[in-house]
């Protein structure tokens, strides 16, 4: 981590908050008490108005920036954007990142022990919605003594949480930044999620979700889910670039190679892994299935599928946003086909018809949906500029 220490938040220690009051969920079910694990970067100012909430996406957690130890090789998932002098500048803002309820990063979720049965919740952990997450984050906000977020920021599923904050608690945030997000999922997107869920639940080691009690893990299912997910997060061009740089044993030019890098110099003519993209996907799936809980994955994809702010407003999305008073910034990426620019533009139209303050920027990027995690200069500058305006307004209010 030494190299990045100049712009890194450095070593961070997560903090766990215990909530004793029951949380009534959208489904009607109740979580009697729960823990939320968080990280924070930067300093909360005296007026407590410089706080930013980071909402994570499907497989994210509270570890958004910095390192847990000197020996940790990879920083938090959004270290490219959060840090001193970075787009989400911890010299200006106090940044809070939380692992959502139902997650497997340390907040109460399916892997937590149910005190009634003494066993892990597993499949008994209720389905959580974006609205429920926002409710739990609101309680965290109260514990932290924050009156109003300077901004709520999230990519993908995180952007949905930012939207819900703007609808449910308009007076509690100045800005909402929704990156590579959508007002609701498309049928195609739900379809991908269903394939992922199917592969997990049909894994013989799934045991109806009670795999922990059986000391097992639906590893193959999780792997398959992640492999499919990973393909949809990348673009065709991103894969060509990633797997087309060299072509051992031949003189083919990279652009003609269309990402068909062979693992060894030649085809095996067996059902083995021949191409690098295959072993890459296996590696990603393998790594993910060792670190992520299958029930959490199911729950998170459900939250994605269910998100539709219009359900409380006669199925009228612009009515849903009519009460929102924060400034919105929407960002999309040209090659993202999981949450394509069209979805963001739809949201822009909705926000316009609701007379919301909205800005939208489309970034040319090869990386597909994953671009939202990359430090693409124009993207970072847009984030920085929008937040700078919010920061200046805070200063104006202070004077």
């Amino acid at each position: 981590m030494a190299n990045s220490s100049i712009t890194s938040v450095g070593i961070v220690t997560p903090e766990v908050f215990h909530f004793k009051d029951p949380l009534i969920l959208r489904s009607g079910k109740i979580i009697p008490y729960y823990d939320l694990i968080t990280e924070s970067y930067g300093e909360l100012n005296k007026k407590k108005d410089n706080a930013i909430l980071i909402c994570h996406a499907l497989s994210g957690d509270h570890h958004a920036a910095g390192f847990h130890s000197e020996s940790e090789k990879k920083p938090g998932w959004w270290d490219s954007a959060i840090g001193p002098g970075k787009a989400i500048d911890t010299n200006l803002f106090y940044v809070v990142s939380v692992n959502n309820l139902g997650g497997c990063g340390g907040s109460t979720g399916p892997t937590s022990v149910n005190s009634v049965t003494g066993k892990p919740f597993g499949p008994d952990f209720p389905v959580i919605t974006v609205a429920d997450w926002v409710e739990s984050q609101k309680r965290l906000m109260e514990v932290l003594n924050i009156e109003k977020w300077a901004a709520v920021i999230g990519g993908s599923l995180g952007g949905m949480q930012a939207q819900h904050w703007a609808i449910e608690y308009p007076e509690k945030l100045r800005g909402a930044i929704c990156i590579a997000s959508a007002a609701k999922l498309s049928a195609q997107n739900i379809a991908f999620n269903e394939v992922a869920r199917h592969s997990i639940t049909k894994d013989p080691n799934f045991h109806d979700g009670r795999y922990l009690e059986h000391n097992s893990n639906p590893k193959q299912g999780l792997m398959l889910a992640r492999m499919i997910g990973h393909i949809t997060y990348l673009s065709d061009s991103a894969m060509r670039l990633k797997f087309g740089k060299e072509f051992t044993g031949d003189q083919l030019k990279p652009e003609k190679n269309v990402g068909r890098n062979l693992k060894s110099g030649e085809l095996s003519y067996e059902l083995n892994v021949d191409f690098e993209v295959e072993s890459y996907l296996h590696y990603q799936g393998e790594r993910f299935s060792n670190n992520f809980d299958a029930n959490t994955y199911l729950l998170m994809t459900k939250a994605l599928d269910y998100f539709d702010p219009s359900t409380d407003f006669n199925n009228d999305l612009s009515e849903a946003f009519a009460g929102a008073t924060c400034k919105f910034l929407l960002i999309s990426f040209s090659t993202d086909w999981r949450f394509p620019p069209e979805r963001s533009r739809e949201l822009v139209e909705i926000l316009l018809s609701a007379s919301c303050d909205v800005s939208y920027i489309e970034i040319e990027a090869d990386e597909g949906h994953d671009a939202f995690l990359m430090p693409i200069p124009k993207y970072m500058e847009a984030l920085r500029a929008f937040l700078k305006n919010i920061y200046n307004e805070l200063e104006d209010h202070a004077s």
Partner: protein, 197 residues
Amino acid sequence: MRPDLEIITSWIQNNERVLDLGCGSGEFLKNLHTERNVYGIGLEKDLQKIQSCLEVGVNVINQDLNSGLKNFKSNSFDTVLLAQTLQALSQPDVLIEDMLRVGERGIVTFPNFGNWKSRLYLFFRGRMPISKFMPHNWYDTPNIHFCTVKDFDLMCVEKSIKVLNKTVVNLEHQGSLAMKLFPNFLGEIAIYQITRS
């Protein structure tokens, strides 16, 4: 403030909904918000300029005007503004009609090619006019649809567009009695307020 922008501001009422096509760095919308408390949205394709808008808190949407305004609902704005961009559009007439679909009123400003300087340049030199104001060569200019005040008037008649207000100024953005009498000859920048008739 620049006199042409002052004129435009005087044509906009308090609390209007204003769509600024090609809003640049957002100064005008920012000013309009301060002076008229408008709900303003700017469209801009240059990312650098978009960033400037974001920094000053002006709503800006990343959009190329040549792709039209189909993402905007009919009658969703009071005024749609097109300042000094008309001549760079691929289909200016189509966009103007779209402006008047989206907005109750439109305000268009453009360099008047019928100005005497352009006429003399073309007459004496026999070449496309190049000046400080129009510094490009014919082959690399973004300005592909120059018109004169008279041309614009004719288009309005053809398209049944009603001209609510019309004025011309010089490059210093000042008007004069002579310019009022001979707008197409003396005016350098034309400013129109239009609506559907």
